[in-house]
């Protein structure tokens, strides 16, 4: 067995050194009636590298991958081009096979990249500080809501009508263990400003996504002002962080906490995970003490050399146990590394151009689709994703397009449930889409309608 270095001679000698006669003597504490005598039932025995590779390659071929089709799906996960050097670097043994950096003297590689990541996220979101990441955008949003409730000592939370439905459900599930007063506004395209109607002096936070689930950009400034006027916080959510290269940052518009999905930078689609949740907030001790998850912080070693450590861990479960700010015990380590490397390769100049390219190409496609009979672009504004009304059932149209090898977007009903927005299709465009892809989508859509 290629991953197990011990041979039979080793095992015999080691058992002798331990002073037992058989391996089963080491398992004697397992109650007799719960012991497994033979092999686990229903499983094959070990397989060669070749055999395993063959099996997985066959399985892989049973899906239509994004790279093999004109591809326009978004809805919280985006297909961007990731430079080859990113994947090479994150596979270096020293990054890939390291544990959480609890021994900072021999983990400065991880710690310094986390510190750099935190700085990039803070800059990108326009906030003061960011943590070392959470699981994904949806769980980051749920954590932000918990955080807001603790900071304000209030229990009411209002979810705006443009929040990703899966994010809303994640938040609603996450607060079940508490006595939160959740207000989820009915989904609607351009109605996020209505969130202020639900504000009162019991409100801990409003949660507003921009670009929202339909791709519409939301001016957060008046919402922040209204929230602050009653002592509530604005949680700004972003599921497509590339937009922040072109659009005003949530921090600039007055957000108190930002929860975002960072997958777009450095990380592939991977059927929904692993992704990287971003969480950033104002530089206020009251806020920072309530942040969930890890922080890397700067300090010095015994000789005065600059170095980094995990810090403020008195918030965390391994110290505070049931009084911790969250039960989270990991960050999205390697995904944060991919994020920070890709963003370092882009830099300000590259990110701005990437964002402009996404927006420009989305504008081109929106105009082409709008000109089709039976298709109407619904957005007033957008970044790289927009909603169209189609004549017919969008889910059926998407299935029909898939049959001719075009992954033409996401039917809104896939997220909101059948019977809601049945004629709405969400179309995302990135730098990876070619003019040929546009032609294929237009042709497939015309055919399907």
């Amino acid at each position: 067995m290629r991953y197990l270095p011990l041979n039979e001679d080793d095992r015999v000698a080691m058992l002798a050194r331990i002073g037992v006669s058989s391996i089963d003597d080491l398992f004697a504490d397992i109650p007799a009636r719960a012991r497994l005598d033979g092999l686990i039932e229903g499983l094959p025995t070990h397989a060669s590298e070749m055999a395993v590779e063959r099996h997985f390659t066959d399985l892989s071929r049973q899906s239509l991958s994004a790279g093999d089709a004109p591809f326009f799906c978004g809805g919280g996960a985006y297909r961007h081009h990731v430079p080859a050097s990113v994947d090479h670097l994150i596979q270096r043994s020293e990054f890939l096979t390291a544990y959480t950096p609890y021994q900072p003297e021999i983990a400065q590689g991880t710690l310094q990249t986390l510190f750099e990541f935190q700085t990039q996220v803070a800059q990108l979101t326009g906030m003061d500080v960011a943590n070392a990441s959470l699981y994904d955008g949806s769980t980051a949003t749920a954590e932000a809501v918990h955080m807001a409730a603790r900071i304000t000592r209030r229990r009411k939370c209002v979810l705006a009508p443009g929040l990703h439905p899966h994010y809303a459900q994640t938040v609603q599930t996450a607060v079940q263990g508490e006595t939160m007063d959740m207000h989820t506004m009915n989904a609607a395209m351009g109605a996020d400003a209505n969130v202020v109607d639900a504000l009162d002096d019991q409100t801990a936070c409003i949660v507003v996504q921009s670009p929202n689930i339909f791709g519409e950009l939301v001016d957060l400034e008046p919402l922040a002002e209204a929230a602050h006027a009653v002592g509530a916080l604005l949680i700004a959510v972003t599921t497509e962080v590339v937009a922040l290269g072109l659009v005003k940052s949530p921090g600039e518009m007055g957000a108190d906490i930002v929860a975002a999905e960072g997958q777009s930078i450095g990380n592939g689609l991977s059927f929904g995970g692993p992704y990287v949740g971003l969480l950033a907030c104002r530089n206020d001790r009251k806020f920072i003490r309530q942040v969930p998850g890890r922080f890397a912080g700067e300090t010095v070693d015994e000789e005065g050399q600059r170095g980094f450590v995990l810090t403020l861990s008195t918030r965390e479960q391994h110290i505070r146990r049931e009084k911790a700010t969250s039960n989270i015990c990991t960050n999205s380590g390697l995904c944060t590394l991919a994020f920070t490397i890709h963003l370092a390769l882009l830099g300000e100049k590259g990110l701005r151009k990437l964002a402009a390219l996404n927006h420009g190409r989305a504008c081109v496609l929106a105009d082409r689709l709008d000109a089709l009979d039976g298709v109407e672009v619904l957005n007033q504004s957008f970044f790289n994703e927009f909603a169209v009304r189609v004549r017919g059932n969008a889910a059926q149209i998407v299935e029909d397009m898939a049959k001719v090898g075009v992954l033409g977007g996401i039917p809104a009903a896939r997220l909101f449930g059948a019977g809601h927005f049945d004629d709405v299709l969400m179309v995302a465009v990135t730098e990876t889409n070619t003019d040929d892809d546009f032609d294929a989508l237009v042709a497939a859509l015309r055919e399907a309608i």
């Binding site: 686990i40 094959p44 994004a66 270096r92 050399q305 403020l312 151009k353």
Partner: protein, 516 residues
């Protein structure tokens, strides 16, 4: 002096000056290159990516164009490679050496699994593509589910939890949903958690709205059964127990524990962090477990990646399976379908844990690991893991102090009694291991043992590697007892940095770079 034909010396001619006394001009030290922060080496106008031209278009940003400078530094590709390769060399890693972190299961990460996770049918599929176009990805999730259920004997598995703690929360939310359905949410308030438990256990129970009641350990390091009997009652929602426990010991009374909890109407949550010790030797179903998370990044070897991402699928008994969260897989003719909406579900899901279906990239790696080992290999993994730990326990027992008598499972726990009166603490001892070229063991955990040192070698260490490690620890223990403390209190001296000031980091937090 030996010379070649042009007069170049071919043998050392120095006077033997000590390397540690040398201060270099560059700040680098030989292969260990000095490397500033990204924000100090990069610049906003630098870029390592070429992009095509932006097409002519009328902006549709609704007047929300970004005007302020972001300040993000960029690097060309060669500069980026240097920056990150240099930083990588400041990390310890499994591929460098033994990583004896108890409770963390730092085993070899097969590279085949990295290759397979990057196949386009897994890595380049969107979570919301039509399900007819992702049957391969769904099929992989179904196969993984089959393996996890076969290994544990359980009835169902929830795949979406994104890490161990997320899995704990999933399992305990299933418990909560079951209790709520029984109409007992107001009366079943208490969750029993041993003092030796991972911090995530009480944090999870609290997040589910339960009260935590601590269970003491007995003199053998296991659950104190008398204390358990006195605490059990109709207000107990669940017990959260790690087995083997965090002292590296199997809970011998586990059947009695599960019977007690079940008879009182409660549920048995098992923390599966230590599954690596018992795979193929017992099935958790036969231990009476109702829910258990499985850390794919521990037992099934998906890389820890410097702190994540993990994955924490939860296996469930038939008492809890109906409450598993959406999305979940169901048979659909010859293929598979996802149930994504609570409202559509035939079962009674407690909700949704995250936006999509779970950590697909980790699923691929874990399944490849399991198939490579097979039923015979997985049992061998547990046997070798336990053998290696007991071998270290046996070799180290003369010079170090085992916390409990007898054998251990996959990890060996020591206390700091062997350092008594030496002036050397567990922390000092751990830092001295760094100079010896080893990552320290888990220290000061579990909390029930003074100055705890928890050593988990895993099955992927050879006997030679274990012997070298044991020799180093024995020599260090002897040195500490000899009264030579400076080697310890100054340690590490050979790492990229000396001991860091964590107090300063926490008192005056600097959490990001700022200009100037």
């Amino acid at each position: 002096m030996a010379m070649n034909s042009t007069g170049r010396p071919t043998a050392p001619t120095g006077d033997g000056a000590r390397a540690e006394d040398l201060k270099t001009f560059s700040g680098s030290r030989g292969l260990m290159q000095q490397e500033p922060l990204l924000h100090e080496v990069g610049a906003p106008e630098k870029c390592g990516v070429d992009l095509p031209c932006v097409p002519k278009h009328t902006s549709r940003l609704g007047g929300l164009e970004r005007e302020e400078v972001i300040g993000l530094p960029g690097l060309s590709e060669p500069e980026a490679l240097r920056h990150y390769v240099r930083l990588s060399q400041r990390n310890y890693a499994i591929d460098l050496g033994l990583y004896p972190l108890g409770s963390c299961t730092m085993k070899h990460n097969p590279r085949l699994n990295e290759k397979l996770a990057r196949l386009p049918g897994f890595a380049d599929v969107h979570p919301l593509q039509p399900q007819s176009t992702v049957q391969g990805a769904l099929g992989l999730m179904a196969e993984l589910s089959h393996w996890l259920m076969a290994i544990t004997g359980m009835d169902a598995v929830a795949l979406s939890p994104k890490a161990g703690a997320h899995g704990e929360w999933c399992g305990m939310m299933c418990v909560r949903a079951a209790i709520e359905e029984r109409g007992e949410l107001d009366t079943r308030r208490r969750v029993l958690v041993p003092q030796s438990a991972h911090g995530t256990n009480p944090a999870t129970a609290a997040a589910c709205g339960f009260e935590i009641d601590e269970l003491p350990a007995d003199a053998t390091g296991r659950v104190d059964m008398d204390a358990l009997r006195s605490k059990i009652g109709p207000d107990v929602a669940a017990i959260m127990l790690t087995n083997p426990n965090t002292c590296g010991l199997f809970e011998r009374d586990i059947r009695e524990i599960s019977d007690l909890v079940h008879d009182a109407g409660g549920y048995f949550y098992c923390d599966g962090a230590n599954l690596n010790a018992i795979m193929g030797k017992t099935r958790v179903r036969d231990l009476g477990v109702d829910a258990m998370h499985i850390n794919l990044h521990k037992t099934f070897s998906t890389p820890h990646g410097g702190g994540g991402p993990g994955a924490g699928p939860v296996v469930l008994s038939d008492r809890l399976s109906t409450y598993a969260p959406v999305p979940y897989l169901v048979r659909d003719g010859e293929g598979w379908a996802l149930v994504e909406e609570v409202a559509q579900a035939k079962a009674k899901p407690f909700g949704r844990m995250s936006a999509f279906h779970g950590q697909m990239g980790m699923f691929v790696r874990a399944l490849a690991y399991m198939m490579s080992h097979g039923a015979d290999g997985l049992r061998q993994v547990s046997e070798d893991a336990v053998l290696n730990a007991n071998y270290l326990l046996a070799r180290l027992s003369d010079e170090m102090s085992p916390a409990y008598d007898g054998l251990c499972m996959h990890e060996a726990l020591f206390d700091d009694a062997f350092l008594k009166d030496t002036g050397v603490t567990t922390l000092d001892f751990a830092k001295a291991m760094i100079d010896e070229g080893y990552h320290p063991m888990t220290m000061y955990f579990p909390l029930v043992v003074h100055g705890a040192m928890l050593i988990e070698p895993t099955e992927t260490e050879s006997r030679e590697s274990l012997n070298r490690f044991a020799d180093s620890l024995i020599s260090l223990a002897k040195l500490a007892k000899s009264g030579d403390t400076s080697r310890f209190t100054n340690a590490p001296t050979l790492a990229p940095l000396r001991r860091l000031d964590e107090t300063r980091a926490a008192r005056t937090p600097v959490l990001r770079w700022r200009e100037g």
